[in-house]
Amino acid sequence: MGLQVIRILSQGRAIFLAVLFIFFGFVSSSESSEIVIVGDTTLRPVNEIINLISDALPRKVSVYSPRAARGTLDSIVSREQARVVVALGSDSLRSALYLPESVPVVYGLVVRPVSSGRRNISGIYLATPVSEYMSYINKFFPSLRKVGVIYRPAEGDIIDSGESGRLVLYRADNSYEFIKGIGALGKRVDAILLSPERDLLTSTSVEELFRTSYEEQKPVIGVSEKFVKRGALFALVFNEVAMSRQVAEMAKRVLREGDASGIAPSPPEKYDLYVNVETARMMKVPVPRDLVRKAARIYP
């Protein structure tokens, strides 16, 4: 996963490092640390990110791998007398979920907001809210009046109920149901907006998705640049630099306030747009020039 994070962040590497340097300072691990960072240090990109974070934070920082932290993070925190735990990635976050609520946790590099019900946990999630997509659709693709969304029940938090009139929701628990939903939605919607759910987006279901998309001339929207590359009409993807800054700021805030309970998880503040004009052409979906100008990259 760290490799993917590095890749994600590689494009805004310089800015990201600078932000980390500003907000974090390096603290030797030989003394008690105020901040404990849990991340996969074996992966070069993640390790680089952790280093940057360590450089940016003025406090003492200790770094642990998710494996080292698994089941022992509580004692680590006690030993380090950490005031904040920064969990980077899903594995790290899963360990942090077991910490006492007295230990504030800030997570990053996690796709969707954690809905554990615990008040000491907050962070920046990567998934783009449906509302964000809908605003783009409304603005640039008005022809796509009905947008179908296949979701798992846990995803409800990224679906904006305000758009329910144009959204056609379809619940699926597995890839079979996802495919079944594609068939069910194919005739009823103008486009299918994908939710970043790996249990639904299996190889088979994605294949079936694009096959149906081409057959039914229903463009697929989301999730990431690689989906656009494969044939999705467009996708809104978090901006790595902005996301990093958001994580740092949140950690700073939690460290300052000593509590995360007042801080709600946040989506990325800034997105990069990726567009596949070939798909638009094939689907006969007009692509406005403004959209093209905003795009971080246009495929093919």
């Binding site: 890749r7 994600i8 899903s90 990567l126 998934a127 890839s175 790996r198 279901s205 993807v237």
Partner: protein, 758 residues
């Protein structure tokens, strides 16, 4: 494996016995089973490999199908929709090799199946996408039905590297994949393999056979050539290659030349040895270990042809183990008596040697013998002759002295008688003295005849005439039961000799023949010319080879045993008993014959008779007639006679007798005086009576000196006995006659008168 090799070797051996053992056959015998084994092994290996490949392919195909099933089954399994699952099963079941299909959930709970689905295992090995179990008839393949998804949600934002996705097991697809294809393929492979094995074996066998035929053709030529060499032929072979076979052929040619040359030399040598073997006068023979005769030479066959065993050769029987003596090395130059061909008995000198093998075991014998029968006979004859010679010498000496004595007695007795009246007592006494002296004189006469000293007159005679005259006498005197058969040869060559002596000799032989037939019988007398050409026989007879006249006198009387026959010519040896014979008859015959240069042989068989053969040298010329003249017709002369004799009594007797017959007599007491007297009175002397045996100057020298003085002088030789046995030379030189001592006065007067007439 050991048994297979043993069987193979046994097969090769039996094939060799049946079809011979040429190199090609050997190679084929070894190569063909090898090829068959190789083919079978190759086929087996190919089958194994092919089967493994086929198995791998089928497994791979099964895995592909399983993979397909896992993919096609993803959604049906996820959905648990029976319709979907049934569709997936149907599509898989349409594949011929698939015998059954079933789908399971991730806990191996059966969702649906079609076909003979057997029970599934409780669990499958973890971490494996496809698990294959092999059953007898099918492969039981389990393929994981999975969904492939990103490892983390965040991966949805990144490019996924190959293999970066994770698979989550949703259930299992199970396929029964039939092995029928393998079985069919296996059969096909076996069939093809066997076909190939047979074809390969035949092809390679034929190829090997052809190659060996080509490669071994020169060797076959060599083999045939060597076979011909064994038969004594030396054919040339032409091999043009320069390889090992070419070199071998060249070596063969050289060898064949060498063998041919050697064989020629060997044949020549063998011929020389064989010729020598058959040419030698030694009888050579070989025996096997048991004494059986296995090889002989010509001489052996000539002497003992037909003999089968060694022991049967000997006269002395089989009581001696001569073979053991041979092994002991003592049977060397042994004199033996053997049975010869034609029931002849041979005397031989024999040597026998053992033939030993490498272990010094006697495997046979070889030996030779020399026939010394004739040599032995010759030796005996020589011994006998020497013996007779010695006896003769002795007898001659005695007779000489006796004659001189008797000459005086007879002479004076007869002189006394002439001086007295016939009726007076003195005349009667003298008559008795004369008769006794005459008997003694006859004895000495016979002794001298045996001693060959009595020959004093020779002439050419026809033996037929003598025999014919004798037969007239014999038929008058012999009993009538003695039948005399005379077989006279026509134109019998003459012999030279003293007719009286020969007459006497034949008479004695006939008398002996008569005595041998007291009950009567036939007396055969035969004369014939005879050519004695064989030098050995002549040597045996002690006469020179040449032309002879043979006189045979054969009786059918009692015959003589060998010990008697050996001694019959010895003086005084007789078998007639005391008073019936003097034992001098045959001695005289022997002496007379030898004195005539002849030979006498006796062949006698006890109970069958005796044959005596007399061989006298034949001469050429005309036979003298009127042999027997009456020399007693008296005549006296007035001549002057010189009487030379060293014996006073003889000398005086001679003077007295001659003077009584009016001769003028001069006497000389020895030779020198005789010569002197002849020198002084030679002209007056008409006749010289010369004793031949005198001391100092012998008769022969006196004869010469007197003849030197007056060559024409008449000289009458006189002798009772002398060292000089032959006076023929002097008679030929001019001596007018010979007077045998002892003599009566009439003999002297007759001889003197006869001499004076010449």
């Amino acid at each position: 494996m050991k048994n297979v090799l043993k069987s193979l070797m046994s097969l090769v051996s039996s094939l060799e016995k049946r079809y011979g053992n040429t190199l090609k056959r050997k190679v084929l015998c070894v190569a063909l089973p090898g090829l068959i084994i190789a083919s079978v092994v190759f086929t087996y290996d190919a089958l194994k490999t092919e089967k493994a490949i086929m198995r791998e392919e089928i497994i791979k195909r099964a895995e592909v199908l399983a993979h397909l099933a896992s993919r096609t089954g993803e959604l049906p399994v996820l959905s648990r929709n029976r319709e979907l699952i049934s569709g997936a099963i149907s599509s898989l079941r349409s594949i011929p090799e698939v015998s059954f299909v079933a789908f399971y959930d991730r806990n191996l709970g059966l969702l649906m199946g079609d076909g003979p689905v057997g029970p599934s295992p409780q669990a499958l090995p973890a971490g494996r996408h496809i698990v294959v179990f092999e059953n007898r008839d099918y492969f039981d393949v389990y393929a994981s039905v999975y969904t492939e998804k990103e490892r983390e949600d965040i991966d949805l934002y990144n490019e996924t590297e190959p293999g970066g996705k994770v698979r989550e097991n949703e259930g299992w697809a199970r396929i029964g994949f039939s092995k029928a294809a393998i079985t069919a393929a296996e059969r096909k492979i076996i069939f093809k393999g066997l076909l190939f094995a047979v074809a390969f074996t035949l092809f390679i066998g034929t190829l090997v056979s052809a190659m060996f035929s080509v490669a071994t053709k020169p060797l076959s030529l060599l083999s045939r050539a060597l076979d011909s060499v064994r038969k004594g032929e030396y054919p040339e072979i032409r091999v043009h290659s320069h390889d090992e076979v070419g070199i071998l052929a060249s070596e063969y040619t050289r060898m064949a030349d060498a063998v041919r040359d050697r064989e020629a030399r060997l044949k020549e040598s063998r011929k020389r040895i064989s010729d020598l073997f058959n040419r030698v006068e030694h009888a050579i023979f070989r025996l096997d270990g048991s004494g059986r005769i296995i090889e002989t030479n010509r001489k052996f066959d000539e002497l003992c042809g037909g003999a089968q065993t060694f022991s049967s050769l000997f006269v002395d029987g089989d009581d001696r183990n001569r073979l053991s003596e041979t092994v002991a090395g003592t049977f060397r130059d042994v004199e033996e008596r053997m049975h010869g061909s034609g029931e002849k008995e041979l005397t031989v000198i024999m040597s026998l040697y053992p033939e030993l093998d490498d272990d010094a075991t006697v495997v046979g014998f070889d030996g030779y013998f020399v026939d010394i029968t004739e040599k032995k006979a010759l030796e005996e004859a020589i011994i006998q002759a020497q013996k007779l010679e010695s006896i003769g010498l002795l007898a001659g000496g005695i007779a000489h002295d006796f004659n001189n004595i008797l000459t005086g007695i007879l002479g004076y007795a007869s002189l006394t008688q002439s001086m007295v009246n016939r009726g007076s007592k003195i005349y009667g006494y003298m008559e008795a003295v004369t008769k006794s002296s005459q008997r003694a004189s006859n004895l000495t006469h016979q002794l001298l005849g045996f001693a060959r000293k009595g020959k004093y007159k020779t002439e050419r005679l026809n033996l037929n005439n003598i025999v014919a005259e004798l037969i007239l006498f014999l038929r008058e005197t012999f009993d009538r039961n003695i039948v005399i058969v005379f077989d006279a040869a026509e134109e019998l060559p003459p012999v030279e000799g003293d007719g009286n002596q020969l007459y006497q000799a034949i008479l004695n032989l006939c008398i002996n023949a008569r005595d041998a037939m007291p009950a009567g019988g036939r007396l055969y007398i035969k004369t014939e010319p005879y050519a004695l050409k064989d030098e050995r026989t002549a040597q045996l007879y002690r006469v020179p080879a040449g032309e002879y006249v043979r006189l045979s006198i054969t009786d059918v009387g009692a015959g003589m045993p060998p010990e008697v026959k050996k001694r019959i010519f010895e003086p005084f040896y007789t078998t007639k008993g005391v008073g019936r014979g003097t034992g001098l008859g045959l001695s005289m015959v022997y002496g007379i014959v030898k004195n005539h240069g002849g030979h006498i042989s006796v062949y006698s068989e006890v109970g069958l008779g005796t044959a005596v053969r007399v061989y006298l040298p034949r001469v050429s010329g005309i036979i003298d007639e009127g042999r027997r003249k009456n020399i007693m017709k008296g005549s006296q002369g007035k001549a002057t006679i010189l009487f030379i004799d060293d014996e006073e009594m003889v000398r005086e007797l001679g003077r007295d007798i001659l003077e009584a017959y009016n001769y003028k007599v001069m006497v000389a007491v020895h030779g020198s005086e005789g010569v002197k007297m002849f020198h002084e009175h030679g002209d007056a002397i008409d006749l010289v009576v010369l004793d031949m045996i005198m001391p100092e100057k012998g008769g022969r020298q006196v004869f010469s000196e007197i003849r030197a003085m007056r060559p024409g002088v008449r000289i009458l030789l006189c002798s009772g006995y002398g060292e000089e046995q032959n006076f023929d030379e002097l008679l030929n030189e001019g001596a007018v006659g010979f007077l045998q001592k002892p003599f009566q006065h009439s003999d002297l007067v007759a001889k003197v008168e006869e001499a004076l007439k010449k």
